[in-house]
């Protein structure tokens, strides 16, 4: 599979290592190239400096045609914009956005985006530890519950297959 990860924090870097070690083709981007120090340099993959909210930069980084898109930056809204760019404009089918505000996470699930809400997962884990029942809504990646109202065919534009990399590999 081809996976694209936006945001090279601990989560993004850890996921990149696991996917790459399992033989998947991984591209990870971040606006700050120092973030790439977190990567495990033993495993293959591409690390590029790019802004996840910029359509042109995503295209050049090769988002079109990937099987999985993970938006894992520190900003909920950045992740939401990036996820919608990937699904609505760049034609990626499986898109996950990290959205830590539970209200926003639920609203965007209804709008067709699978979300990962750290706040809710952590609160549930601690509630269970305290002896409370499990929150059925806190179950890993929460799948999309609705479809975007304006959802229609994705953009017909197709990137050149050999689009150049933004920066050297790592």
């Amino acid at each position: 599979m081809r996976a694209f990860i936006a945001g090279c924090g601990r989560t993004g870097a850890g996921l990149a290592s696991r996917l790459a070690a399992a033989g998947h083709e991984v591209t990870i981007i971040d606006t700050n190239s120092e973030a790439f120090d977190r990567l495990d340099h033993e495993v293959p993959g591409r690390a590029l400096r790019a802004d996840v909210t910029d359509e042109d930069q995503l295209r050049r980084a090769g988002v079109e045609g990937v099987d999985l898109f993970f938006s894992l930056t520190e900003g909920d809204n950045r992740n939401i914009l990036a996820a919608q760019l990937a699904s609505e404009t760049l034609g990626v089918d499986r898109v996950v956005a990290k959205v830590n505000d539970p209200v926003r996470a639920e609203a965007y699930q209804a709008l067709g985006i699978a979300t990962l809400c750290r706040t809710r997962l952590l609160a549930d884990a601690l509630a269970i530890y305290s002896g409370l029942p499990h929150d059925p809504g806190a179950e890993g990646v929460a799948p999309a519950t609705g479809h975007h109202r304006e959802h229609d065919s994705a953009s017909a534009d197709v990137a050149a297959p050999d689009a150049p990399a933004l920066a050297g590999g790592r």
Binding site: D76, N77, I80, L111, R149
Partner: protein, 226 residues
Amino acid sequence: MYVIIVGGGKVGYYLTKELLAAGHELVLLEKDGRRARQIADEVGSIVLQRDGCEGKHLEEAGAKRAAIVAAVTGDDEDNLVVCQMAKHHFDVPRTIARVNNPRNETLFRHLGVDEIISPTRMALAAIEQDIPVHELLHLAQLPGGRLELIEARITEDSPAVGRRAADLSLPEACSLFAILRDGNAQAIRSDTTLQVGDTVLAISRTESENQLHDALIGAADGGDTD
């Protein structure tokens, strides 16, 4: 009409003042405390120090009864989220987003934002209008992408001065259709004679633009004549 404005930067600030002057009921949400107080000192208690991206804060601000939500912060992602939450979560009939990266305009429209304000595009257009009067000005690209609507000002140096429209050597598939003269617009007929000071509107293929330039403005020989 009840309006919620999110973002108290320059755009939000002036928008607030204009709408108040026009007699609208509104609140302004600005997350930075200092900036919020600064504006509140001038316009009063309609400023709330809140992050408009939070669903809870939009609701407290009365999103359910708002006729318009305008998101005008400097961050496109914030403006998108405010508008989508307003529209899909609170059923606000009209949402307006400021878009700073012109490439985001299409996506925002596609995602249901009703109105786009694009300061970047406006600035570009304004700058282009200020740039040399002896050049062709691109007004719009027509659907299909191959034809453009172009404006040309006829100056003393123009080879078209004193000639009839029918006698000009225009490129193929190019059409002059209107002339702006003395503040009036008139259709161009084959016997219309061009004069200094005329503004001519034309439709041309993108690739024929140089020939159109030669016919209306004169062959490009360098040298600014401002």
